[in-house]
C-alpha cells in the first residue's frame, strides 16, 4: 500500500512538472532590410572564364549578380569591354537585367546569372601566351531609403520637469548603412525658437560607402519627419562638393518631447566594375 502511494505521488509530480505548457512566441520579429552598404554585388562564376583558354577556343564569361541592398534594380545594364576586339569576339556587348532587392519574404535579395559567349579569333604567332583583359561594368539606378529615430523637443528651455525623460536631441551616427551603396552617415539637429514655434534644422551627411561610383549626381527625392515632407535647401547633390544637406521644419513650442522618424530618400545612378585577365595559350 505504501509503495503504491509513493508511486502515485511520483507519477503525479512527473505529470505536473512535465506538462509544461509552451505558449507560442507571440513577440514580433524585427528583420532589418535597410541595413548594409552594398547594392549590387558582382562576381565571376567560378571558372567562367577559366584562367587559361586555348587558342581558337570558345569560352563563357559567367557573372553572378546579387542584389544585396533594399531596392529593386530594373533595367540595369551590364557590359563587357576592355578586350582586344581583333582577337576576341563576344556574342553580345551588353545585356539588361532586373533583380529584386531585400524585402519581406525575400530577406537575401535577388540573384541572377548572366553569361556572355566569347571566342578567341586571332593569336599572335610568336607568343606562347597572350593575356586577354575583360572589364565588366554594370550601370543601374538605385535608391537609398534611410530612416533614423530623432528626438523632437518643443521645450528647448527645459521648463517641463517631468520625472521621466523621453529623449534628448543629439547627433545621430548611422554606421550600418541603409541597404544601399550611398549611405546617410550622420544627422545633426539644431533648434531655434521662433515666435511661438521652434524651427528645427537637420544637417544630413552622406557618403558613397560602396565600391563603385556614383553616376552624375544624387537627387534628393524626399525628406520626411514622420509622414510629413519637410523642405531642404538642395535637391541635387554632388558628393564631392556637398558633404551635407540642410532641411527645416517648424513645430509648436511647449509640448512634450517625443521620438519620431526622419526618413530620407536618395536617387542616383551607380556604376560597379570588376575585371579578369585570361591567358590564351598557344595550342
Amino acid at each position: 500500500m505504501k509503495k503504491i502511494l509513493i508511486l502515485l505521488v511520483i507519477g503525479f509530480l512527473i505529470l505536473v512538472t512535465g506538462c509544461g505548457r509552451t505558449t507560442p512566441n507571440l513577440e514580433p520579429e524585427l528583420i532589418e532590410y535597410h541595413k548594409g552598404t552594398q547594392g549590387l554585388e558582382m562576381n565571376f562564376v567560378r571558372n567562367l572564364p577559366p584562367d587559361e583558354i586555348s587558342e581558337g577556343s570558345e569560352f563563357i564569361i559567367g557573372l553572378e549578380l546579387r542584389n544585396k541592398g533594399a531596392y529593386d534594380i530594373e533595367n540595369g545594364e551590364i557590359s563587357v569591354s576592355g578586350y582586344d576586339q581583333s582577337k576576341i569576339q563576344i556574342n553580345e556587348h551588353g545585356k539588361y537585367f532586373n533583380i529584386e532587392g531585400k524585402k519581406p519574404g525575400f530577406p537575401e535579395g535577388g540573384y541572377e546569372i548572366i553569361n556572355f559567349r566569347g571566342k578567341n579569333i586571332d593569336f599572335p604567332k610568336i607568343k606562347e601566351t597572350d593575356p586577354a583583359r575583360f572589364k565588366i561594368i554594370t550601370r543601374y539606378d538605385y535608391q537609398t531609403e534611410a530612416g533614423a529615430e530623432v528626438c523632437i523637443n518643443p521645450d528647448i528651455y527645459s521648463h517641463v520637469k517631468t520625472k521621466e525623460k523621453i529623449c534628448e536631441p543629439k547627433e545621430i551616427i548611422l554606421s550600418d548603412g541603409q541597404g544601399a551603396p550611398v549611405a546617410v552617415t550622420k544627422i545633426q539637429q539644431e533648434a531655434v525658437p521662433f515666435e511661438n514655434r521652434i524651427r528645427i534644422k537637420f544637417n544630413i551627411y552622406m557618403e558613397n560607402k560602396g565600391e563603385g561610383d556614383i553616376k552624375d549626381n544624387i537627387t534628393l527625392d524626399e525628406v520626411r519627419l514622420a509622414n510629413v515632407p519637410i523642405t531642404c535647401t538642395k535637391n541635387n547633390i554632388e558628393l564631392e562638393e556637398d558633404e551635407k544637406i540642410e532641411c527645416y521644419t517648424e513645430i509648436l513650442a511647449g509640448a512634450g518631447a517625443y521620438l519620431t522618424s526622419l526618413s530620407i530618400k536618395l536617387d542616383y545612378g551607380y556604376i560597379s566594375r570588376i575585371g579578369k585577365i585570361v591567358q590564351i595559350r598557344k595550342q
Binding site: 514580433p28 520579429e29 520637469k161 517631468t162 521621466e164 509622414n227 517625443y258 521620438l259 519620431t260 522618424s261
Partner: protein, 311 residues
Amino acid sequence: MKKIHLILFVLALLVICGCRRQTGTDAEQEFSKDIYKGTKGLEMRFIKDMPMSKIYDTSDLTVLLELENKGTYDLSGTNCRLYLSGFDDKIIRGLDKTKICSSFLEGKSPLNPEGGYSTQQFSTDIIDLPDYLDSLNQRLLLTACYEYQTKASPVVCIDPNLYEIGPIERGCTVKDVSTAGGQGAPVAVSGVNVEMVGKDKVAFDIKISNVGGGTVIGPGASVFTDCPYQVDPKDYNIVRYGVDMSGGTKIRCTPEIEGSEKTRFVNNKGTIYCTFDISGDSAYTTPLRITLYYNYMDSISKDIEIIKTPG
C-alpha cells in the same frame, strides 16, 4: 494515561483562550495610525503587456493603467488628470492625449484603509509607420497632474513657565517633534521645532519636504490647462500652507509669496515659521494643525517598439 490526556487537553484550551484578543477599539486605533501615514499620493502602473513592448504596425495599441490613491485626499475627475505623451501623433494616430484619472478615487480612510482603485485606458488602431522604416521606438510617458493636500497634527508642548526657576510642576516637556513617515501624501511635514519666546509667545519652525518622488506645483496653476507643459517656471515647488493651534492666536507665519502664505521648496525641502500668542500659567499639550495645499505631478514611462509588418 487517560487522565494525562485530559489534563493536557484542558491546558491547551486554556492557552488558546487565554491569548489576548485585541478589542475592536484597539484594532481601529492601529488602523487609523496607518491611514494617516505614508508618503504617496496617486500611484500609477502600466498593466503588464498593455501595451506589449513590441507590436506590429497593424496591431491595436492599448495602454491600460492601474491607478491607486495611496494618500488621504480624495481625487476625482475635477482635480486629477492624466496626460499621455512621448509619441509622434503623426505615426500613432487617434490616441487620446489626456483623460481624467477617474470619476472618483477615494483617499485612505477608516472605512477604506487601502484607498481608491481604478483603471484607465488609452487605445488606437491607427499606426502609420513610414514606408521604409523597419521599426520605430517610442517612449510613452504618462503624466498625472492632481491637486492634493497634506494634513498633519503633531502634538506640541506649550510651557509658559519654561524659563521660570524653581520647582514647578510641568505637565509636559517642551521639545521638538518628529513626524517621520509622512501623513498620507507626497508632501510631508517632517518635523516641528518648538521654541518658547518668553511667557506668552511660542514659535514653531515647521519642516516640510517633497517625499513623493514627483514634482510640486503651486496651487495657483491649473491641472487642466497648465500642467504638465505650460507651467510657469515660478509656479514650480510652491506650497500654500495653513497653520492653526488651539489655545493660541496666530501672530504671523512666514514666508509669504505675493502676499499669500506660501513657501518654496529648495532641493525638495521647505520651512514655515510661525509665531503664536499663548495664554495660561501651566504647561499643556495641544495639536498644531498644519495643512498644505499644492498640485502634484508624477510620471511613468513605457518603451515600445513598433515593427513594420512583413509583406
